[in-house]
C-alpha cells in the first residue's frame, strides 16, 4: 500500500498565505518602520564626506583597539580603498542594512537566549528551532520574506535577521549556563531578586560569551545581506549579483573586496569591545 505524500509543503504554504492575508497590515507597518530606519541610517552615514568618515573610523579604531595603530591605519586605508573603487554609496547601504538587521536580531536573540537559559521548557522548544534555522539553506528564507514584504531592503533584512539570530541565542544561553554555580549561589545567598541576579551577576559574567554571539551575529548578517541582494536588497551584494549575471570578474571581485574590508572592520571592532 502506498503511503500518501504528507503535505508538508502545502501546509507551510497555507500558513504563509494565512499570515499574509490576516496580518497584512502589521506586515506593512513593520515594513515601513524598518525601511525608515535603514534609509535614515544610510542618509546619516552619507552625510559625512568619505575622507572624513574614514578618518573618524580610524580614530575610533585607535581608541577601541587600545592604541592599536595597525587597526587604525588599516581601517582608514580600507575605507579609502572602497571610496577609490567607487563603491562608497553601496558600502554605506550595506553597512546600514547590516547594522539594522544585526541590531534587530540581537534585540530578539539576547532575551530569547536568556529565557532559554533560565527555562528548561523554553530551552527544549528553542533548541530544535535553532537547529532548523541553521541547517535550512539560507536561500529558503528568501521565499516567505518576498511573499510578506515584496522585493527590496525589508525582506532582505528579515531574512538576515532570521539567519543571524541563532548563534547569538546559543551563545547567550551558553554564557549564562556556564556562570559558575557558586556565583549564582552568591547572588541567592545575599538575597538578590531574580532580576538583580541576572543583571548584576549572570549577564556580566556571561558577557564575553554574549559578545562572541554579537560578533557572530554581525558577521552572519553581513554574509546574508549579500545573499539578500537576490530579492532586491541594495548595497554591495547587488553589485556582486550584477557581476555574476554579467560574468564581470573585475566588478564582482571589487565588490567582494569591499565586503571583506567592511567585515574585517566590524569584526575587529566588536572583538575589541568584548571584555577580556
Amino acid at each position: 500500500m502506498a503511503i500518501p505524500k504528507i503535505p508538508i509543503g502545502d501546509g507551510v504554504e497555507y500558513v504563509v498565505n494565512w499570515i499574509e492575508d490576516d496580518f497584512g497590515i502589521l506586515l506593512d507597518i513593520f515594513s515601513d518602520v524598518t525601511d525608515y530606519i535603514i534609509s535614515g541610517l544610510n542618509d546619516t552615514l552619507l552625510l559625512f564626506p568619505p575622507i572624513v568618515f574614514a578618518l573618524i573610523i580610524g580614530i575610533a579604531a585607535y581608541f577601541i583597539g587600545k592604541k592599536d595603530l595597525k587597526l587604525a591605519i588599516g581601517s582608514t586605508v580600507g575605507l579609502l580603498l572602497i571610496e577609490n573603487m567607487g563603491l562608497w554609496v553601496l558600502s554605506m547601504e550595506t553597512i546600514s542594512l547590516v547594522i539594522t538587521s544585526a541590531f534587530l536580531a540581537l534585540i530578539i536573540a539576547i532575551p530569547l537566549g536568556i529565557v532559554s537559559a533560565k527555562n528548561e521548557f523554553a530551552y527544549h522548544v528553542i533548541k530544535p528551532l535553532l537547529d532548523l534555522m541553521q541547517t535550512m539553506p539560507s536561500f529558503v528564507y528568501l521565499i516567505p520574506a518576498v511573499i510578506f514584504f515584496g522585493l527590496g531592503n525589508v525582506p532582505g533584512l528579515v531574512a538576515t535577521i532570521v539567519f543571524a539570530m541563532p548563534p547569538a541565542i546559543r551563545l547567550t544561553t551558553l554564557g549564562i549556563q556556564q556562570v559558575p554555580k557558586e556565583l549564582t549561589e552568591v547572588a541567592d545567598a545575599f538575597g538578590s531578586t531574580p532580576w538583580q541576579k541576572l543583571t548584576k551577576v549572570e549577564l556580566p559574567t556571561a558577557l564575553p560569551s554574549i559578545m562572541a554571539g554579537v560578533n557572530q551575529c554581525i558577521m552572519l548578517s553581513l554574509s546574508m545581506v549579500v545573499i539578500a541582494a537576490m530579492i532586491g536588497a541594495r548595497g554591495l551584494g547587488y553589485q556582486v549579483l550584477i557581476g555574476i549575471q554579467r560574468v564581470d570578474i573585475g566588478q564582482g571581485f571589487e565588490a567582494g573586496l569591499g565586503i571583506v574590508i567592511i567585515a574585517i572592520i566590524l569584526d575587529r571592532f566588536t572583538q575589541h569591545l568584548t571584555p577580556k
Binding site: P180, E182, L183, E185, V186, D188, A189, F190, G191, S192, T193, Q196, K200, V201, P204, T205, L207, P275
Partner: protein, 402 residues
Amino acid sequence: MLTGDFNIKQEKKIEVRNLTKIFGKKPKKALSLIESGSSKSEIFEKTGQNVGLYNVNFDIYEGEIFVIMGLSGSGKSTLLRCINRLIEPTAGHIILDGEDVATANSEELREIRRKKMGMVFQNFALIPHRTVLDNVAYGLEIQGISKEERDVKAKEAIETVGLKGYEDSKTSQLSGGMQQRVGLARALATDPDVLLMDEAFSALDPLIRSEMQDELLALEDKMQKTIVFVSHDLDEALKLGDRIMIMHDGQIAQIGTAENILTEPADDYVSKFVAGVDRTKILTAETVMKRADPVVSMNSSPKVALQLMREHGISSIFVVNREKHLKGIISVDDAVSGSKAGKTIKDVMTSDVTVTYPDTPLNELIPIIENSSPIAVTKDDRKLLGVIVRGSVLGALAIEEA
C-alpha cells in the same frame, strides 16, 4: 547518638528540627518511608530516591563556632545550604531567631538572607568583573543602600580582614588567601548574625589556611558572630570548633567539643574518623595533668616536706600558701640539707617553677617537659590546679593511641 554536654549559658540561635533532604523526583514516597523508620539504603532500593539528609536535629548557640564535619557525600554541604535554602529542604524546620526559614516565602527568605546570614564559599566565588570594593559591597548594593553608605561599610569590612589598600584591585590579581579575605569581607559587610562558611579554607595552601584559621578565631573573639563552618578537615574542625558535629551518611554521628569527640567517640565511625588525629594539638594541659597532691604549706618545715616526698615517692614538691597559690618548689636534696641546717621552707624553696595554663595544648609542653619536669598547671592568678610530669604526658598519648 551522643549530644554534646556543652553547658554554655547561651541562647539557641538556630534550631534544626527533623530536617530531611531527598534528592530525586518522587520525594514523597521516600519521606513516608523515613517516617516509618526505613534506612537510607532500604529507601534507595525501594524508591530509587537518594536521601541526602535523614531527619537531622541539632541546635546552634549564639556566638559559637559550630563545625559541621564529614567526608564528601556525608551531607554536610547539603545541610549548610538548607540553612539558607540554597538547597530546598524536603521536610523539617530551621528556626532562626524564632522564625522558620524553611517555611518563609520568597520575600521573607530574601530579607533573612540579606540581613541575617552571610556566606563564604569554597572557591571564593568573587564576581569577576568587579573590583574588591564592589565585590564586598554586593550584599549592600542589592539592598538598595546608597553608594556612599555602602562604600563606607565595605571599606570597614575590607579593613577588618586586613586588605586595606586593595579596594580598587581586580580580584583576579589577588592570591587565593587574599581572595578569600574578600569573600569573608563580603559576608561581613552586611553585618549578619550568622556566617555560613562552606569549606572556606579548603582551597588554600596549608600555611595560608592555618593563618586564615587563626585570623578567623581572632575575628570571632572580637565580633561574636554565630559561625557555621563546614569542613572535611578534622584538624581544622578541632582547631576552630567550639562544638563539632560529625556527619555520616546524611545523619549525625556525634555532636560535641573537640575533646568530647576525641575522648568519647560515640561509635566506631567516629573513632575511626578521629584515629589519625594529632592528639598533641587537641589534648590540653588540663586533660593530662594530675592532682597536685601532696603539696607543702609555706608555714611548714623542710622536714615535713621531706617526709611527704618520701611517703609518695617523689623527688620534688610544690610549695603553696593558704589559698593554694603556687609559691615555689623544693627538691629532695634541698629539703635534706635544709632540715639538717634547721632552715625554713622559704629559705630552701626556689620560685623558679615552670608554669603552664590549663588550656595550653600538649604539643607546646612536649619540648619543655624533658628538662623541666614537673610542670605546674595554674590559673592566671597562680592558683595551683595540678601537675604534669614527663610520664603523664607520654602516658596520655599512649592511652589515646591504643
